[in-house]
Amino acid sequence: MTGADKQRLRQVRAAILGDRPDTSRNDTLYPVYVAVIGAGAYGIPAAQQLFRSLDGKWLAAHAWTPVGAIVVVSVAALLLALVPMVGRVHGPVVPPLPYLELVVASPMPRKVTLARNWRLSLGGSIIGGLLVGAVGGGGLAIAKVAPPVALLPATAAGGLFGVLVAELWLQGQMHASPLGLRPESLLPRGRRNALALLDITGLKRQAASNATIGGAVLAGDLRTVRLDAARPATHARHVRLRASGPLVVIARRDLLGLRRAPWSALYGLGFAAAGSAGLMLSLQSPRTPTVAPLVSLIVAYLGFGALCEGLRLHADNSGTSRLLGLAYRDTALAHLVVPMSAWALSALIVNAGLSLAGLVRPAAFVWALGAGALLAGSHLMASFRGLPPIGVFGPRAGVPAMVFWYAKPLLATLVVGTATTAWAARIAAPWVAFSWLLVLTAGVVTWGLVLVDKRDRRS
């Protein structure tokens, strides 16, 4: 960066600010101040409480062994592997659109015009890493899992983790460039010049997406967030949808959709298998803690949801010209065929494996089927809930009200599923609990169908 470049950028910033005072330094430092206070006041007490509740003695015995180190490094590597994916959707260098149009698009070097945004993200990552390390180290020390001196290496490791996150984040953004990363002779060399590889189209797309997602989050419109963040399908374009009866073709559509989103299908099947396994295992002993079916249902809800993309797309399409020859509600129900079948199949395979190992009874599969119907009902609710009511944005409501409104389908699943599963594990006649599971599931499905009909009437 030459002195002349710096001078020009200062002039640009002065022109943007006009008569207003430059508050950027305070605007940057204030979140850091809040984060440090929050980490000290809430983070460290929560961390030490967590380590104590996880059996501090067991942790102290295992955390400092080679296996413990491998686990920690593996988790860190897994998290770092996810960072470039985030960068593809939302990178660390995303200035506002007007700045992109008027300044970044100018002949000024991009490493100059984008440097400030990169420094902010890099600094934020490092400070975040340092705080996470300090909170973890402090929690370990206070819980007596590690000596107090562990605070220093934990904080340093957190800082290093923050640097790696920032670098991989930027790499992800660079790889999302529509121009690709072919070396161009006109581009200057050097690691810092990575900013020069960010093209204006990619930057504008991320900035526009940033504005859309930001606005959607403020408006509580998770649907827009989901559609904006989704990667467009490009897989298996040569596979054709096979024509068949009106209902069957909807199921075939969903199967084709999953084939074109293989990671989503794998994730859905994996989580469905894990969730159904947890549920069936939770039934086997009255001593099973209630948290076991609760966690299993959360995992199952996520897995089932990954298989419900067709259902969500049907809900997204309401309000536009209708071209399908099926009734709105029938189409919604047809979209449940694939997720229900996938859930039943994965539960059947898991049940067979666990039964052969003597861990569950074959009849536990019936329970998994009932839970599948509950998940279908809650995903009907989730897909067709629409936008939150105006009251959620009122001054007396706030964020908790919006979170509660969005979490209703998940809460319905957790309350009904956890209560009946825990009850079934503790009584001699589990069919009584199963009957209640079916009755309450019918209520959840009816609730979902009411929302479908409501959307149908509005569109």
Partner: protein, 231 residues
Amino acid sequence: MLGRRGPAAPDVHGPDLRGSAGHVLRAAGVGKKIDEAVLLLPTDVELAATECVVLRGPNGSGKTTLLRILAGTLSPSEGEATLDGSHVDERHESTRTAIAALIGAPATYRDLTLVDHLVLIDSTWGRVGQHADDHADEILELLEIDHLAERFPHELSSGQQQLFHLAMVLVRPSSILVLDEPEQRLDPDKRDLLTRILLDRKTDGSGLLIACHDPAMTGALADTVVDIQSA
């Protein structure tokens, strides 16, 4: 030619498509107000089979509003819109069966290709097997976008999007086509092509209700021109 069919009898492989029903779509003094804002002044329109009514008027005169009302997706605040004497309501199966509307961009599935969309729509209207596949290919060929069959909607230009949206409407069976500025974003050759396709549909018995700003298309298609006055 759009009317070409697969070799099997339509009764076996799905409903026959269009033209024979002879529906009458009528707007009698239909107007639309929202509070004090007048979207559409009271207007009369009547459309029968093998006829084409073209709506003309400046931007904001209420052409799209009238199309929405006659497609049964919006209720008028005065007057009455009827299909064969009954209230037009898109939620009624009889309305959906008779009227295929392209008013604004229809919804598409981001994980389906163009040909998949057409097969899906055709299947939900009862056409099965090879006939739906062949019909989807025919429609794409008819609109000269068969080379785009395996593209996803987000991979199309704006003109190609418009042709794809027209294909989605033309592929489903209907007796009445309601189209809002179908010529938009099309080049002159494609406008000529669309005009020929719509003339064929009219000859085959469909009624056409179109809002159009293209004088050549209007001249070639219109039996009746309704000039909508600005509110």
